[in-house]
Amino acid sequence: MTPSATEIELRPTADDHRIARHAAAAIVLTVAEAAIPLPLPGVKPGLANIVTLVVLARWGWREAAWVALLRVIVGSLVLGQFLAPGFFLSLAGGLASLVALGVSMHLPRRVFGPVSHSVLAAFAHFAGQLVVARIWLVPHDGVFYLVPVFALAATVFGLVNGLVAARLLEARGG
């Protein structure tokens, strides 16, 4: 068959394959996590962020951003949440935590490890979600009543995810 003039050939690079692999791992974690019953909407372990943290440490911010945003979009498609309110909350949280990661990765490496990145990103994540929730979904200051719960969840899950990421990085010689 002769290729027509309008046919576009995509040649995925090694980078594309790597991003796709990492995003796939993150999406699996997102879907698996959706099966865990949780007492409060919005409080989730965010296990997929372990993948983001590892990618950030090994391949840099740009690739981590790809993985995180692909995970948000594809994860919501798989769960049937795409363009639903939960999707925009995830997107806002994901973007805010990417900004936090971009800033915190420049902290001195010897003193601040993946746990710092993880906790700071978790706080940015819930702050980003809360801002969107306050402006759009629940236009009332009542949403801030839950800040202590979210802050505690961000601390605990940020610590756990950061430790797991640190250990994975060590195992892979990162």
Binding site: F112, V119, V147, T155, L159
Partner: protein, 135 residues
């Protein structure tokens, strides 16, 4: 007991990944948790009761000491009972007794209204959970 050393070794394996700055970040995070809980979850405590009769403020009472206030109205006298941190309408000459049946009010912004006798009892605090309640 035999689990002790294994558990400690397991914890140490994880703790090895914590760097000095990580501990600082964690301490800050816990600080934010505590500060936000104290700041946001204690706003509902009332510190005074505002008693109105016929639409005008009749009395403002501090909610620190127990006290009983009698308020005159068109039907008779409404008796309001104050205790540290809470207040209620103890007796009212109104026919339906809604304000009496509300019982103790203990959050800033809560209101009991004895409409027939034109008496109301409202609790006020620095940070009320809500501006007002209507029934």
């Amino acid at each position: 007991m035999s689990r002790g050393p294994a558990l400690r070794a397991w914890l140490a394996a994880w703790a090895r990944h914590l760097r000095a700055g990580d501990l600082l970040v964690l301490a800050l995070a816990v600080g934010v948790c505590i500060a936000s809980a104290l700041g946001l979850w204690q706003g509902g405590r009332p510190d005074k009761a505002v008693i109105r009769a016929g639409g005008k403020v009749f009395l403002e009472v501090d909610l620190s000491a127990p006290r009983i206030v009698e308020v005159p109205g068109p039907l008779g006298r409404t008796r309001i009972e104050i205790q540290p941190g809470r207040a209620r309408v103890a007796a009212d000459p109104g026919p339906r007794q809604y304000c009496v049946r509300q019982g103790w009010l203990a959050t800033a912004g809560a209101v009991a209204i004895c409409a027939p006798n034109q008496v109301s009892l409202a609790l006020a605090g620095r940070n009320a959970d809500y501006d007002s309640l209507s029934y």
